[in-house]
Symmetry: C2
Subunit: 200 residues, 2 copies
DNA sequence: TTACTTTTTCTAACAGTGTTAGCAAAGATA
DNA sequence: TATCTTTGCTAACACTGTTAGAAAAAGTAA
């Protein structure tokens, strides 16, 4: 009897309808504005049916996160396949990753939980400039003492900040304790590379 | 007349009481669990008095963010002052930044809006391992072809991922458009340094 | 077709959230 | 003492995630 199959298919359709509605709302108003009730309105069903397919709101976000990584993966595969040497592959992947993030800002924000205290107001924080100047000072000195005095200190400042932030935020996210020593090594690796990169 | 002074002082006390209560709640239950009503309960005042000192909840978070950067700045100043050469200063600052993040996780999360879809469940995403393997492949090849075949590919993978993520998330946060070219240059700078770092 | 069972779907509620209008009480001024 | 200003509160509005329990629909068996 095909009834069970049809029911299964309908359940699947409902599930994807929920996810599509959720995604539509996310790219429309940002993932912070996503609500179960809005999803219910879009799919034209009552609220509790959503809970028949997802345990809670977080499970929906998690599924979108999964989709995001899936899409990113496929972009990376494409980047790899179109390049020959490992150098080119790495470069292509870096660009693909970068492009993915900015062409799919909503995805990236869901994937990494970005986008709170409100991105727009971060610029209001005056302490950020103090922070920048603080790091800038020794970087400038190092550049002056190095072999390439034309190096842009702001560029290096950005590299410094981004690297540290990325390392930390990825480490904070994954509770995997066994990786802590690994990350400390990455930190050391980065510092050494950063300094020698300025000098030479 | 000292009445105006006293009133001003009392207003200030109320303000700091709100911020202290908010902070206490943040380190207790995480910044996502922070609510105006809980703050009101802690300071033993009704809810609307909070709105006499802060426009909205976000303003409170923003102030905590500001405090976070202030504290980070003072840590960096300390790190700088205790080191002599720019190399040592940069290294000390990197470690200070790192330490600050992990000794003040709550601060760091508020500062960078981290900690959504729930950090704990990120590990459930199977696509992450696919992603890792994808990047790992060319990195391994590059290491094998380089002068230092003992280099840990996982370490390099982590560097790669962290750097990209840091660069992107900082760029996504600050809407400052004029910096986009700068960041593209940082990206190039990073890729070049990353590859040459593996080779040599 | 009818009676029964299972599945699906909904209404309504609970407990919580940010935010604000409007009133009451307290404090300051004359 | 009377007036004005500041301060603080109650109560509400419009949301949020989540769930219990009733109603409706769909499937099954006689």
């Amino acid at each position: 009897m095909g009834i069970a199959e049809r029911k299964k298919r309908q359940r699947e359709e409902m599930r994807t309808a929920i996810l599509e509605a959720a995604w539509q709302l996310v790219i429309q108003d940002g993932w912070q504005a996503l609500s179960i009730r809005k999803i219910a309105e879009v799919i034209e069903y009552s609220v509790p049916v959503i809970y028949d397919h997802f345990a809670n709101k977080e499970a929906i976000l998690l599924e979108l996160t999964r989709q995001g990584f899936q899409k990113l993966n496929s972009e990376l595969v494409k980047a790899i396949s179109q390049s020959a040497s490992p150098e080119q592959q790495i470069e292509a992947m870096a660009y693909a990753y970068w492009r993915f993030a900015f062409e799919n800002t909503a995805y990236y924000q869901v994937m990494y939980g970005l986008g709170i205290p409100s991105c727009e107001t971060v610029n209001q924080i005056s302490e950020l400039s103090t922070f920048s100047e603080l790091v800038l000072q020794p970087v400038k000195q190092l550049i002056a003492a190095g072999k390439n005095p034309a190096t842009d200190p702001f560029l290096k400042l950005h590299t410094f900040w981004s690297m540290l932030h990325g390392l930390i935020s990825i480490n904070i996210m994954s509770v995997n304790e066994s990786k802590e020593e690994l990350n400390l090594m990455v930190l050391k690796d980065f510092i050494a590379g950063f300094i020698s990169g300025i000098k030479s």
